[in-house]
Symmetry: C2
Subunit: 118 residues, 2 copies
DNA sequence: CCCAATAGGTACTAAAAGGTGCGTATGATA
DNA sequence: TATCATACGCACCTTTTAGTACCTATTGGG
């Protein structure tokens, strides 16, 4: 059982939660309140149903998001940052903010990038 | 040429810089000053020479790190956050700090994890 | 009776990321 | 003259991650 996990630096542990292509995007979209599956899909064009639920399952297992199933038909499921997940908010904010500034920097350098958050 | 890159949320752009298994770790290690290749390898046990230089090349191309080659034998190369890369420091700090707290949380839950930064 | 709407499961495939091993260069040093 | 130390590059292979296509359940409404 001394199957101990040893980290050398805090960010390693963070990236176990924020790793992968979709988790940071999903979490950033959940910063300001809960969203149902279909809303997340709308906010994240390009994600497949499979990836969305898969990543949400992971985050649920990590106690970062809560899943709330309404008993109705057609189904309704809402996802939100858990209490513990809320502690990530400042981190997510800083990631989003830096990205926004970065995009502006790239634009100022004449690169063809845009930020299109409806 | 309207090969325009469109982001829906800032974090997407951030993760193009911080994506992958090694970049966040490398960058966090560079927060407090430059390090040479061998020092980085020592700080990041588990990374291969290939991955280390590959990721450093990527970060150099993104203008996040500077590479300084000393003209001596045996070779000496130092890497440091570029001026632009410095703007990532608060982000990296927040990633590291959250991870450290997270590790403590896991420990408090009885999980076998440790943070071992010599 | 069948379909729309919503959430999600599964199998298979494709692509990206990462790991391993081996080779190179140079000059100082034993 | 052989060896070491340092920082690579390259070719090949394995693993991980992501994408695609198709299937299920439920029930109100036409």
């Amino acid at each position: 059982m001394p199957e101990e996990k040893v980290y050398r630096i805090g960010v390693e542990a963070t990236m176990e939660v924020l790793g992968g292509k979709w988790k940071p995007i999903i979490l950033c979209n959940l910063r300001h309140g809960s969203l149902r599956t279909s809303e997340l899909k709308r906010q994240i064009p390009g994600i497949s149903q499979k990836m969305l639920t898969q990543q949400l399952r992971d985050l649920e297992a990590l106690n970062i998001v809560d899943r709330h199933v309404y008993n109705q038909v057609p189904p309704k499921v809402e996802y939100a940052l858990s209490d513990y997940g809320q502690s990530l908010s400042p981190v997510l904010d800083s990631l989003c903010n830096w990205g926004e500034q970065h995009i502006q920097t790239l634009q100022a350098q004449g690169e063809a990038v845009t930020l299109n958050m409806d």
